[in-house]
Subunit: 219 residues, 2 copies
DNA sequence: ACCTGAACACCGTTCAAGT
DNA sequence: ACCTGAACACCGTTCAAGT
């Protein structure tokens, strides 16, 4: 708290950006808000950061990097895949603005982190080398895709809405669809209301892991 | 071409928005550009559309809706899953701005279309009803996630760059990484250079489909 | 080398006024 | 009911000037 006049640095700028994104959302990250928060001028920020896009990429990379920094816990390679996947899932859940970011330019920079982390487990599972690329990429796509879409579902109405209300609202909308045109979606609306996001995420991951084990039985 | 004075309508506005997004990209969709293209004033557009967000959602929904409109071709349910998945894949490939959109508010509106289309095939595969939600959701997450991330990879440098140059650039970046820190990513950099996106997308889909068949053998 | 802050060009949205 | 277009508030970025 006593850091009145700490030197401006790229790191402090990125930290402030993450804070703003977390508290005020994507629309709240503004150079004016940043200058105020950092008690400086706009030009000072531009000295350390090329533009807003680079700042968003750096913020995304910082958060994901932290989430994946620890060596993944788990007795077996599939368990470690689950650990990595959950770490990312929780990071996106805590910082929903990451979702849109990963579907933009930031993905180019940040995805390799996820690929490296998951890929090592693919290798450890004994998948033949010729399939490393295909299998690890598919795994990354499921994990990032699922985590991302989950965050989308979590941010429709006001920030005060509870998880149950949110799922209930979606379920209600689904139940009002024309049954002629939307038979399947209507049939599962009830389960939307009661499902658990993390469990569902892990269940989907199990499909992929089972598929890997079946199609590429390791050594 | 002779439609000099066609009445303004929500549909014409959305069509113009899609055109702008396709040609000038996400940053090119501007109310000024729209008014010029439609030869009208800003207020006229706001009469038919609440705001820019709604316009983006409508544009996304229109494109995805068209892509999924046809009954999916295929002899078996898995084949029809592949048909639906490829239709979406190609739509995102042709309109890369959809990727970011699906990771934002538009997902809420558009995802049910994809869920319905894929879910019907899940049902046809004989997956027990209690697993419909879990399985269909996971499938949607893989398909949307993979299609989305693929579009991210396709739009780094200028629009003139060829597919090979693009993959080559990514592969090069990966090959320059520190091998101590990035052993796996470096090991697969070569395959990044030569892989085919659609094939890779289908290979990943096969992992999921195989997992479904293994964990939820139908009737 | 690093910071200040006014200025510029541009954007989404509104609204009184028209038909 | 639908359209016009000027006006408003706000944003990202630049840059001459300072230290």
């Amino acid at each position: 708290m006593a850091r009145r006049t700490e030197a401006l640095s790229r790191e402090r700028i990125v930290d402030a950006a993450v804070e703003l994104l977390d508290t005020v959302g994507e629309g709240g990250l503004t150079f004016r808000a940043l200058t105020e928060r950092l008690a400086t001028g706009a030009g000072a920020i531009y000295w350390h950061v090329a533009n807003k896009g680079e700042l968003l990429t750096a913020a995304t990379d910082a958060v994901v990097g932290t989430a994946l920094a620890a060596e993944p816990d788990g007795a077996s390679p599939p368990d470690r895949v689950r650990a990595v996947a959950l770490a990312l899932f929780d990071a996106v859940d805590d910082h929903p603005w990451i979702a849109a970011q990963l579907s933009r330019g930031s993905g180019q920079v940040t995805t390799p982190r996820i690929l490296e982390s998951l890929g090592r487990q693919v290798r450890a599972m004994g998948v033949p080398r010729s399939e490393w690329f295909s299998v690890s990429t598919a795994l990354v796509q499921y994990v990032v895709g699922a985590a991302t879409q989950n965050a989308v579902n979590g941010t429709l109405p006001g920030p005060s809405t509870s998880r149950e209300e949110l799922l209930g609202a979606v379920a209600e909308r689904w139940e009002e669809l024309d049954p002629e045109e939307w038979p399947f979606t209507r049939a599962i609306a009830g389960q939307m209301r009661v499902h658990d996001d993390r469990e569902q995420f892990l269940a989907g991951l199990d499909l992929v892991l089972t598929g890997i084990a079946a199609l590429h039985p390791g050594t």
